[in-house]
């Protein structure tokens, strides 16, 4: 095997190591995951019940409840992606393993991609459970739903989300105390401008302009169409997501590398506690 092939193989094994580590952690914290799932379902119900209070005819109420549910599920999914990406550094700093991970011969792109891959896997499982739990609880009727298209679009969108997550994951590297919280601020801002529970058209003009560069806008629009109307994956939603991903992932890596260099220069790449 050539040297390049061996290096590629080692990096793939390393990527597997990141996923393996997160699987171990999920196994060890499974009860916490169950509790978190219950909290997420309860939180989503508080949003979806708004449709019941709107006083609409049953068919309109069903559509509104489904639209709200899609928003809440995307919010929860994006929350998982951002949590895993942003806490790439924060968890390791807390557990004290940060120096060992950053001195390992694992490229940063592979390190962050491994974290992103696990986040997508874990997030999709949670989003699916959340969706069907709430559908069953509320008794929503979605006979036309095109789940394949909805999941496919979510998978494409995940690339953009990982790219943006790479940018926010640098925050705990620069600010050990408040960096992780700033990541959640970014998540909130992205969803607000993307029409998480409402059409983008109700926002002021400048927010509508920002919504065009948010991957969540196209994900929410496409997934609502797939679940409510049974639409397939629309190229009008897919191409912006691909363009954003192509820009966001390299930019995220560049920003992370710059942050890592800053942390190494100023002695911030170390454990806390």
């Amino acid at each position: 095997m050539g040297n390049y092939a061996i290096q590629m193989r080692n990096q793939l094994v390393g990527l597997g190591g990141i996923v393996e580590r997160n699987l171990y952690l999920t196994k060890r914290y499974i009860l916490w995951d169950v509790a978190f799932m219950v909290w997420t379902i309860a939180n989503t119900l508080t949003v979806v019940f708004i449709a019941r209070a709107a006083g609409l005819p049953p068919a309109r109420e069903n559509v509104l409840a489904t639209q709200l549910l899609v928003g809440a599920v995307i919010w929860a999914y994006l929350g998982i992606i951002f949590e895993f990406m942003t806490e790439t550094v924060a968890w390791e700093r807390w557990e004290g393993t940060i120096e060992y991970t950053f001195m390992a011969p694992l490229s940063r792109a592979v390190h962050l991609s491994g974290q992103g891959a696990f986040a997508v896997l874990y997030g999709l499982i949670r989003a699916t459970i959340l969706f069907f739990a709430v559908v069953a609880f509320i008794g929503l009727h979605i006979p036309q739903a095109n789940f394949g298209a909805a999941l496919g679009l979510l998978a494409v969108a995940s690339l953009s989300f990982i790219g943006v997550g790479m940018m926010t994951s640098v925050l705990p590297l620069i600010s050990p105390e408040k960096g992780a919280q700033l990541g959640f601020v970014a998540q909130g801002v992205m969803l607000v401008v993307s029409g998480v529970y409402y059409p983008v058209s109700v926002m002021p003009g400048w927010m509508q302009w920002i919504s065009k560069i948010s991957p969540a806008t196209y994900t929410l629009r496409g997934d609502r169409a797939a679940i409510v109307d049974g639409a397939g994956m629309s190229w009008a939603d897919v191409w912006p997501l691909l363009v954003i991903a192509v820009g966001a992932i390299p930019l995220g890596l560049l920003i992370f590398r710059a942050g890592e260099r800053y942390a190494k220069k100023h002695g911030k790449l170390k454990r806390s506690g």
Binding site: M1, V13, G16, G17, R21, G96, Y100, M103, P105, R261
Partner: protein, 290 residues
């Protein structure tokens, strides 16, 4: 010569023979800090953690760097581990520039620090397993290598699946040694590996370090404030004081040079202070940020 474990992926960069294991010339590292009394908006001051450090370690040698808390030992180890960027001078590991050829250095070096540093809810086996993947070791390789290395460090087989948080400090430190050796490093950086251990665990870890030297093709840089440990394990002993390396030579030469019977007395002769004297606020700062 037997190896304790080997990723044997064939991609490990050449630890070139004929060049020193570590070559450091005029290495400097400065941190910036704000004057505590000046409040939040006070200007930051430059704070030197290492000043003009120069020394060489030959392949297979064990060198101990002695120093009190805040002397700059951890800064030195973190610079050689690619976790810090220098402010001046240079450091080479088996001929590779430590600040420009990070990937090559990382395959050659591993480290044991004073804190065991593991995911506490995960078991010893799980912690070693994922860490080995970062060095390219496949599940097939670690299936046999992990039990073997844990047995070698004297870790009980029946506790391999137990969460790290349930293990004693001594047990955790053995797992830390196993993690470092699992990847077959040719340069092992030991930063206070026995600090905080009970006397028995301390002796076990020291015995294991001797065993590594005897059986494994490893160069060791041991940073410690335990003078007896340094004298017992190292070929040469250096004294780092407030960021400056005062000397680096065999223990017998140090004692002869200062005409003293112990390394404590040598420290006093070299610095005018007791070795265990309370550290100053500045030294404490170096310990936290350096």
């Amino acid at each position: 010569m037997s190896t304790l474990a080997s990723p044997s992926t064939g991609s490990t960069p050449e630890a070139a023979r004929g060049v020193p294991a570590v070559e450091i010339r005029d290495l400097r590292k400065t941190f910036r800090r704000r004057d505590r009394k000046g409040g939040r908006f006070a200007a930051k001051e430059q704070w030197p953690a290492l000043e003009g450090i120069t020394f060489t370690i030959e392949r297979g040698e064990c060198v101990a760097i002695l120093g009190q808390n805040g002397s700059g030992k951890s800064t030195l180890v973190r610079l050689l581990s690619t976790l810090l960027i220098n402010d001046g001078g240079e450091a080479r590991i088996f001929g590779h520039d430590a600040f420009r050829e990070e990937r090559a250095i990382r395959r050659l070096v591993n480290r044991v620090s004073v804190e065991a540093s593991f995911f506490k809810r995960m078991s010893a086996s799980e912690n070693l397993s994922y860490a080995a993947r970062f060095y390219g070791m496949t599940p097939r390789q670690t299936r046999t290598a992990i039990p073997a290395i844990l047995e070698k460090v004297g870790f009980p087989a029946e506790r391999r699946g137990e969460a790290m948080e349930n293990l004693s400090r001594g047990m955790q430190q053995k797992v830390a040694l196993a993690r470092a050796l699992l990847t077959a490093p040719v340069l092992l950086l030991l930063d206070e590996p026995t600090t905080g251990l009970d006397p028995r665990s301390k002796l076990e870890v020291q015995d294991f370090i001797r065993q590594v030297r005897a059986e494994h093709d490893a160069t060791i840089l041991l940073c410690t404030h335990d003078m007896n440990e340094a004298e017992a394990l190292a070929d040469r002993i250096g004294l780092l004081d407030r960021g400056r390396l005062l000397f680096l030579e065999p223990a017998a030469d140090v004692k002869r040079r200062f005409d003293v019977a112990t390394l404590e007395e040598a420290f006093f002769a070299a610095t005018g202070r007791e070795f265990d004297a309370e550290t100053s606020e500045d030294d404490a700062y170096r310990e936290v940020f350096g």
